[in-house]
Symmetry: C2
């Protein structure tokens, strides 16, 4: 019996196109924002492995500094603010609102779980007009350890008083889903772009390119 | 008293230019090989965090498949072999041979420690004509956990019967050095390209853009 669905935010529910547009002002290279994000993810996972923690926004900033330095471009405070600030104003994908409503109509709780700070997720949910569709939202700030380390998934289960097998994690990132799967959650992969699910990670239980399909599959489990 | 110096291989001692040339045959974008390598590093660190392990070569292959798919390019077996095979034939940087000889003249052991397989590092050392300058070489295969997790550094110390504070880790990767530092090794950063050392990682004890300078600093510690 699925009682709760956890959603990743960036790229899963929120479209990164605005962020990409801000990179495009400085680089004529579509690989740049992907390279930057891969760096941020590597930073955060290394920090977790080393039992270190700092705000995800600070890691994003450090990766941005590194990126501009590598490419011998000046990074002004204004550019930094422009690029990193766009995270707060990311729009939701078109399929999000209807999918979340359908879960709620089926008495399933809707919860956000993010590597970003608590302030960031609150602002993202407000600006994307999704906040009223969420029962709750969590940041890894609470456990000082990023996804996909087990801490945040277990913390949310405990706070929500729900079992792992009654809970689905939805994400467009294979690394997020292997973390959730490792602690026993049901996992659902929403494929937002042409990409290969890492064949060495645990496979998701549900997989689709449309969030409404994902949610319908979840409801069918009950 | 420094008795042993551990060296990372790829990018630290071996020049990746050949690998980049092979990417350039398929992509007109210098960010592509960097993006690919960032993906490989993220994969390996996530695997470590999840207590999973597979050969680094297989993760490199999976990241290559993902890269070609994302860019809607066909990845033939020949291209795969071309790109991944170039790892075996990477040449050493110009400053390597003299630096390693200087360590040996000062009775300091020279050891390779790599995320690649044992077969790969052996082949790399042979092809780059460095093998006779090494006392020993280790792959994370031995502990089934990638750098920067503590396992391999501790394993090498134990096998070599040397203390952490008598041992230096030399790498061009900040994430490798934070791992070594966490288990008490002395760390030396060789800066091979325009790049920012992650400000949230533990700082290296020694830092230079030339390996001979790094080695001279190490010898001065004795």
């Amino acid at each position: 019996m699925i009682k709760t669905v956890l959603f990743d935010m960036n790229e899963t529910l929120l479209n990164l196109s605005l962020l990409k547009e801000n990179f495009d002002k400085h680089f004529e290279d579509p690989t740049i924002p992907k390279y930057w994000f891969a760096k941020v993810l590597h930073y955060s996972t290394v920090m977790g492995a080393m039992d270190e923690y700092t705000d995800f926004g600070k890691l994003s900033e450090a990766a941005l500094e590194s990126l501009f330095l590598e490419n011998e471009k000046e990074l002004t405070d204004e550019t930094k603010k422009d690029i990193l600030g766009s995270f707060k104003r990311l729009p939701a994908y078109n399929d999000v609102s209807e999918a979340l409503k359908l879960l709620r109509e089926n008495n399933i709780k809707v919860i956000a779980v993010t590597n970003s700070s608590y302030e960031m997720v609150k602002e993202q949910l407000t600006n994307s007009k999704l906040i009223n569709l969420f029962d709750s939202y969590y940041s890894v700030d609470a456990v000082q350890k990023y996804k996909p380390f087990k801490d945040i998934y277990q913390y949310v289960l405990k706070q929500e008083k729900v079992n792992a097998d009654e809970t689905v994690m939805v994400a467009t990132h294979d690394w997020d889903l292997i973390g959730a799967k490792k602690v026993g959650l049901v996992t659902a992969y929403i494929n937002r772009k042409k990409d290969q699910y890492n064949p060495y990670y645990l496979n998701p239980d549900i997989s689709s390119t449309n969030l409404l399909d994902v949610v319908e599959e979840i409801i069918k489990l009950n």
